[in-house]
């Protein structure tokens, strides 16, 4: 059955052959309904096992027991059965959307089959490994067969940039700010769709967490599977090297106005007086991001909860020296193995307002949680959580 699914996908994609793959990251273990559980159990009944290293994306339950998931029976039982089926198939219990910060970093140039849109874009762009955007179910089918359709971003020629996204008109102070990357990512995704672009005008490496935020936002607002940043990402030492032709097919010169519009577009709440919660950690928080959160809260009490979503890889460090207990005493709700937009964690609240520093949460929270969103920097999110009302520091683009 797994090979039939891989072969049928290859036919749809027009791939002439299958290629061997080195690893997979599997997004299919998140419960969306009984059908996915029944599929995974069918594979287990057939005796299937993954043939390559396979990490798991988030599930619908917090198996670490940090947070209370409001998923009721019978859905809860079906979600648990699904997670169990993927374990039986031989997948690693990583349960994170940031596997690349949990020790799964394929070698540059290697072919892999990854799911979860932000993991795909990070794997291609920042690690330089080669994957297409694998949908749920094809990821596990590739893991079992150790094969993937040879097409798209597995082919070096298709990885070259056709358009330029120039940010050199933006102020250095904006580009150095935390909000620059999620906002630019959201704009980039909307502008380029599924085309390959190269970002120019960035001086200095913005850091891995910034690239993570950029890719996640771009993969939510568009169908971005790969981006390049000239002088930063591994396949783009400079613009000329990565461009597909002597001239780009299109050049987008990003203006401060475009940035202001993109930033405003990340919020859906109209000037609320209060907020009900803050959510951070999409993609899952890294050690460095958890450090920033601790530093910004500085032991103060929150008026509304901050839901901090992370993976068990980062949790291990938090458990040392009582750090997790201190954060929880301030009013932080640590969420492990899952996150607030994929499973019901936050209370149902008509007219609820959620503040976030994540472009991806900003994109999906209104549809998945019913909360209206306000987008702000992590520092503003923390101050707002302490006061229970939105606080914004103006950062001009």
């Amino acid at each position: 059955m797994a090979m039939r699914i891989v072969a049928e996908s290859a036919r749809l994609l027009g791939a002439p052959r299958l290629i061997p793959i080195a690893s997979t990251h599997i997004d299919g273990a998140l419960y969306h309904g009984d059908s996915g559980t029944l599929f995974a159990e069918r594979l287990v009944e057939g005796g299937a096992k993954v043939a390559v290293r396979s990490t798991l994306n988030v599930g619908a339950l917090d198996l670490m027991g940090c947070s209370r998931i409001r998923l009721e029976e019978p859905q809860r039982g079906m979600a648990r059965r699904m997670m169990e089926a993927y374990r039986k198939l031989g997948c690693e219990q990583s349960w994170t959307c940031a596997p690349y910060q949990a020790g799964h970093r394929p070698a540059p140039g290697s072919d892999v089959a990854w799911g979860e849109s932000n993991a795909v874009v990070f794997c291609n762009s920042v690690l330089g490994a080669r994957t297409n955007r694998y949908g749920d179910f094809l990821d596990i089918a590739c893991a079992i067969t150790a094969r993937a359709p040879d097409c798209g971003l597995h082919r070096p020629d298709n990885r070259r940039a056709k358009l330029v996204f120039d940010v050199s008109d933006l102020s250095p102070s904006f580009l150095a700010s935390e909000i620059a990357w999620p906002v630019l990512g959201s704009l980039y995704g909307r502008e380029v769709g599924n085309a390959i672009g190269v970002v120019t005008g960035v001086t200095g490496h913005p850091g891995e967490d910034a690239l993570k935020a950029f890719g996640a936002a771009a993969a939510s607002s568009g169908a971005v599977g790969l981006f390049h940043i000239a002088g930063v990402t591994p396949e783009a030492p400079d613009v000329e090297t990565i461009l597909a032709g002597p001239e780009p097919e299109a050049a987008i010169r990003v203006t401060p106005d475009m940035v202001a519009t993109a930033r405003a577009g990340l919020s859906t709440a109209a000037a609320p007086k209060t907020i009900d919660a803050v959510a951070i950690g999409s993609p899952h928080l890294s050690h460095a991001e958890l450090d920033s959160l601790e530093r910004l809260i500085a032991g103060r009490k929150l008026a509304v909860p901050i839901y901090a979503c992370t993976g068990r890889h980062a949790l291990a460090l938090l458990e040392q020296n009582g750090r997790r207990k201190q954060l929880e005493a301030s009013g932080v709700a640590i969420v492990a193995d899952t996150c607030v937009v994929v499973t019901p964690i936050m209370p149902d609240l008509a007219g609820g307002v959620l503040m976030t520093n994540s472009g991806k949460f900003a994109h999906y929270a209104p549809g998945n949680t019913g909360y209206a969103v306000l987008y702000a920097s992590l520092a503003d999110c923390v101050e707002s959580a302490i006061l229970g009302k939105p606080v914004f520091t103006e950062i001009a683009a």
Binding site: I5, L12, D34, S35, G115, G135, L138, S220, P366, N368
Partner: protein
């Protein structure tokens, strides 16, 4: 109005009222898998229900879980009557491929230029077993 479309994924022929989306959509986070209602508040067709409709898709974006949402819609009997795509989308259509493997009856998915979508807007549309997409006059 009738055009013959390439069959992307074979399935049950279908008929229903056309729902022509004017912007790409992410099925995960954009469509409720229980009801088929478009839940993305930023989408121009927010609030419309795709179940039983002939769904015209100019493009898809976002999450790689689109396949899981479409398979769940099939399993819940809330799938579109047929899907008409501007270009093959291997993530979304996997939902149909895997549902077929599970032995569930799936709607057809066909490919048609998005330039032709407008002429079907609001019409009762039939997608025949040979891929003919016809609007009742």
């Amino acid at each position: 109005m009738s055009a013959t479309a390439e069959i992307l994924v074979p399935g049950r022929a279908g008929e229903g009222e056309a729902l022509v989306l004017t912007a790409p959509i992410s099925f995960w986070g954009g469509v409720d898998p229980e009801t088929g209602r478009i839940a993305d508040v930023r989408h121009p067709q927010h609030g419309e229900v795709i179940a039983g409709r002939v769904l015209f898709l100019p493009g898809t974006i976002g999450s790689s879980s689109a396949s899981a949402v479409l398979m769940e819609l099939v399993h819940n009997g809330r799938a579109p009557a047929a899907l008409v795509l501007h270009e093959p989308d291997a993530i979304l259509l996997l939902g149909l491929i895997v549902a077929r493997e599970m032995g569930w009856e799936t709607p057809m998915a066909v490919r048609l230029e998005r330039g032709a979508f407008d002429s079907y807007r609001g019409a009762a549309v039939t997608v025949a077993p040979d891929g003919a997409v016809t609007a009742a006059v």
